[in-house]
Symmetry: C2
Subunit: 333 residues, 2 copies
DNA sequence: CTGAAAGCGCTTACAG
DNA sequence: CTGAAAGCGCTTACAG
């Protein structure tokens, strides 16, 4: 064994009485028809005995690949992106790939952050919610974009958020709601633009439908203020459609602060179906976005890209989960 | 430039009219006193012009290090561990290290999972909430354990959860509570054992104090059932101390389902201070655990270990955050 | 101050 | 069926 402690293929070769290249062939699983089964078994036993594991740096150097993919997301502290990571890492592991996460800080834009991490050796990039023009900076590195503008030219895996928002609107319309308030995320991302556009179109199609909107950031306090602004209007909406579940929690607070009961006085809907949705009282009617599947499908597409393929864009359906935060509107005052 | 497209130090050397070793010295920042400033500048310009970035696999092979650390945690879908990751990744990046996350699935134990990822080339391991005996499997790889049993022999960075739990008990005692219910996590981990022991000792020290306990898993539904069991006792507790914030959300539900108001009829406390704590109504009195700092301090300790140091164990204080889910107990019936 | 050379541990033609 | 050898792109003594 080499003096540094960790055994190399050369050590295994010596222990098994064969050449180093034979060890490499056996360990790489490319020996059938080239090495006698008896020799192969001797090598495998020696490898196990010595606790041999191939040096990845050497393999990577030789093959020109790292079998590592970078996942760029807004924040891992958001449970949604934790699920995206889980799906991506699962599929990656099935193919012998690792995932390095690059969360960019809230204050730093995506513009330069990932490139401040020059120590990363990666084969490809999986990224969520990035502005499309940022893709151009990834010159040469294969990219798959998640839940992002498909017009950017990159391969995308999307949620069908427009269909999800139409399902919300149809549900509210069926309950009898006409005056809809949109508690919107004030974030310039494709997914939120689409949600807003789809809701506006759906309300426009309702007979007698009207839509008002207030924006906030993706946190409880900001959403509470935005929702409160809508509830303080003269002719207040009977339903608040929120851009995600956390904002819906803020809408609950705005309603309660005004003595309004959810759902008797005002209905509230969310988006994502996080664990929060059932932690709230009443439990939240929301659109379930399959975050784990997004990560998994995205990684599948990226591995296809790395294989030289041309994976086609995919879109994952959201599902309306009706719980107890929505009900018919109160009778006119 | 080499035919594969990506420039190497050899390409830069040719463009700058110097040798490859000079390029390496300049790029590695080890040139002062060895290379003339003029030459160094020529090299740097050529490197920028060609878009040269050192091949990490080659550097890793040469140096016998990967500058990568594996973070092993229960799940990234839990926002708590997202924050741990953020802290660890921040400190790692400051030292030119990358972090690979290894979340183990809920159903698989930690026993073999990380070793089913043999494609990872790592220098060290940062891990949370692992059973102490698992450390022995990491033979040879430096390990720092987070929020885990310090008796295991590994370097640890802990939360002072015992002190946090004592603060909860003191807060409740000061409000007048004596009959305490513990909604406990049924997970065999150091951090939860300590929470239970500290609470038991604190209640024992209260004049007239009594403690009953029910256990559940770390989710809303299971915690709701456990809390409900306590609330259905003949002489029901006036306060429910929950092992984390999500379980507290379950306790809220159990109370509401029985027509009990929080905090008028029963006080509830949590642990962690996740975003959920202020999304709930009423906002949750809880112990804030600095998850980002845990990851950061853990990574600092691990880098110290990799530097050949012997970092001493650290303990991070929790902070009781009093909100509106706790109040004096109702008058005796 | 600069360059030629060794060598990290692999994979993979190539020769036998 | 097996082995000797080249070479991936670096870092770092060593020679000049």
């Amino acid at each position: 064994m080499s003096s540094t402690g960790r055994p190399t293929s050369r050590d295994v070769a010596q222990a098994a009485g064969v050449s180093q290249s034979t060890v490499s062939l056996v360990m790489g699983g490319k020996w059938t028809g080239r090495i006698s089964p008896a020799t192969a078994q001797t090598v495998q036993e020696a490898a196990v005995r010595l606790g041999y594991r191939p040096n990845l740096a050497a393999r990577n150097l030789r093959l020109g690949t790292t079998r590592t993919v970078m996942l760029i997301i807004p924040s891992l502290a958001a449970p949604f992106f934790g699920a995206v990571h889980a799906g991506a890492a699962r599929v990656a592991a099935e193919h012998g790939f690792g995932v390095v996460v690059y969360p960019w800080p809230d204050d730093a834009g995506p513009a330069d952050s990932p490139f401040a991490a020059p120590h990363e050796a990666i084969d490809g990039i999986l990224t969520s919610s990035l502005a499309a023009d940022v893709v151009s900076r990834f010159s040469g590195t294969p990219v798959v974009m998640l839940d992002s503008d498909p017009e950017g030219g990159a391969t995308t895996v999307l949620f069908d958020v427009a269909e999800g928002m139409r399902a919300v609107a149809a549900h509210l319309a069926a309950l009898g709601h006409r005056r809809i308030g949109h508690v919107a995320a004030s974030i310039d991302q494709w997914t939120f633009r689409i949600r807003g556009d789809a809701l506006a179109a759906a309300v426009r199609a309702m007979p007698g439908g009207s839509l008002i909107r207030a924006s906030g950031t993706l946190d409880v306090g900001s959403a509470r203020d935005a929702a409160g602004e809508l509830l303080d209007r003269h002719n207040r909406p009977t339903a608040l459609v929120c851009d995600d579940d956390l904002m819906a929690a803020g809408a609950y607070k705005a309603a309660r602060a005004r003595g309004l009961d959810v759902p008797r006085d005002v209905s509230v809907t969310g988006f994502d179906d996080l664990q929060l949705a059932i932690a709230l009282e009443p439990e939240l009617t929301t659109v379930r976005l399959p975050a784990e599947a997004l990560g998994a499908q995205g990684m599948t597409a990226l591995l296809g890209l790395l294989d030289g393929g041309r994976p086609r864009p995919r879109s994952l359906p959201g599902e309306l989960i009706v719980r107890t935060s929505t009900a018919p509107p109160p009778p006119p005052r």
